[in-house]
Symmetry: C2
């Protein structure tokens, strides 16, 4: 048993969709969430810079004495999880492996699509991991940089969203994929529009849900669940614009955000 | 006469549209350009963070012994130019004043629109500056966060761009503006689509062009033009992803990018 908090970090607010799943599946765990809103987005940046920023995020959480770290950002998981696992001596979990494993189980035809930021797709992290689980899989990755700003504008049901989805997803329709990994934390909010474009026969995989399941198994396996069944404490840290974090983040989390602090991490 | 270079900085590559105008209007000046691509965009961030990042950019250029600094980013000009002018003892010029002055001269009805990032519009910098030149002006500011990713995708003539422009610009049509300031360095690339939506009666103001004119006047007035008429030297610095900077930036500059260096400035 271990009553220390779980640490979760993301480049901004998107990782709150992962936190929401963790809160549902692990209702007694204390959680510290860090959003690096000063340097968001990571998705258009280089591997080297994503590694540097991720290391600073993990260092901040480690200094808060967390028992485990969830890398809730697909871009950071794709580019930096291996490095973080080597450098930090606590259990770390990312969103790629749970998403890839679920997709490889869900597919019937072996044709799987992955959508995400440019950095996530260019890292081939999902593509490689899916092939480890299903070596015969045919994986098509498509970067969709407009999806995040569309979600942040609240335009997920607009004609702009539909036309954008059609432009990005045509190649997946041509390849007749039967499974699609929503490889960015913002994308589940667009799932109705994506489904409309791809058709009902395509299974959508949400790595946030699968990651929370894996985290629960990890805590059980290492025997570090919180033994205290009081109301848990949630703390939020943002590196910029806390009011925006509270407002937009509240929609992602479906919950009021209290205990929110603005902090600096670029010197860690 | 002063043969030291002009320094230009921006949150990324957009400021190269300003550099291009400076190269045309001041063909004998040496120029050092800094793009803070590691932390792009500034437009969705807080005033405090924009000030901090801008100070680091200006410090980097000052250390390169530039004779003047052009703040080529609308967001940084809106939020940080006053602070930079107080803290640095060399002439600084931003894009807001030239754009506002030109718009206030161009309008016949006094109804002026300004489009830009969320941070630029929320700062009211254009709105206030236009009112200084034309106190009877009615200024309507609209943040257009999707325009930058649309330009970076190369989708400026797409149906997505047209529909997005319609959503953002309807309010300007309802207010019957006769002049529109393109208050973000990426937006001139969308001018055909914007013109199509607004109609030919609306005058579009490009602050990049006006800023280069003001810079030329400043150098003449202070007697710090370069007296050497050799081929000038251009140097480029990016805080991340130099290959992307070279590729996309080349389109903005309409010129090959040589002498490009990757650097770190977050400790300045």
């Amino acid at each position: 048993m271990d009553n220390r908090p779980i640490g979760i970090f993301d480049s901004g607010i998107g990782g709150l969709t992962v936190m929401r799943e963790v809160m549902e599946q692990l209702p007694y765990e204390n959680i510290i969430y860090l959003g690096d809103t000063a340097r968001i987005p990571y998705g258009s940046k280089s591997e080297q810079t994503i590694k540097k920023f991720s290391h600073q995020c993990a260092t901040f959480l480690k200094n808060k004495d967390v028992k485990t770290i969830v890398v809730a950002c697909n871009t950071a998981s794709s580019n930096a999880l291996d490095m973080l696992t080597r450098e930090f001596d606590i259990p770390l979990i990312g969103v790629i492996d749970p998403g890839a494993r679920t997709a490889s189980k869900a597919t019937k035809t072996g044709r799987i699509g992955v959508i995400g930021t440019t950095a996530t797709i260019n890292s081939y992290a999902y593509q490689k991991k899916i092939m480890e689980y299903l070596s015969t899989a045919e994986v098509i990755g498509i970067p969709c940089p407009l999806f995040v700003p569309i979600v942040e504008e609240g335009w997920e049901y607009s004609q702009v969203a539909v036309l954008t989805a059609e432009k990005y997803l045509t190649e997946l329709i041509e390849h007749d994929v039967d499974t699609l990994v929503l490889g960015c934390t913002h994308y589940p909010i667009l799932r109705h529009t994506i489904k409309k474009v791809l058709g009902p026969q395509v299974t959508l995989v949400n790595p946030a849900f699968e990651t929370a399941k894996d985290l629960k198994n990890l805590l059980i396996e290492k025997d570090i669940l919180n033994g205290n069944y009081d109301k848990p404490r949630y703390e939020y840290y943002a590196t910029d614009a806390p009011e925006r974090f509270r407002r937009i983040g509240g929609n992602f989390l479906k919950k009021e955000i209290d205990n929110l602090y603005e902090i600096t991490i670029d010197n860690l």
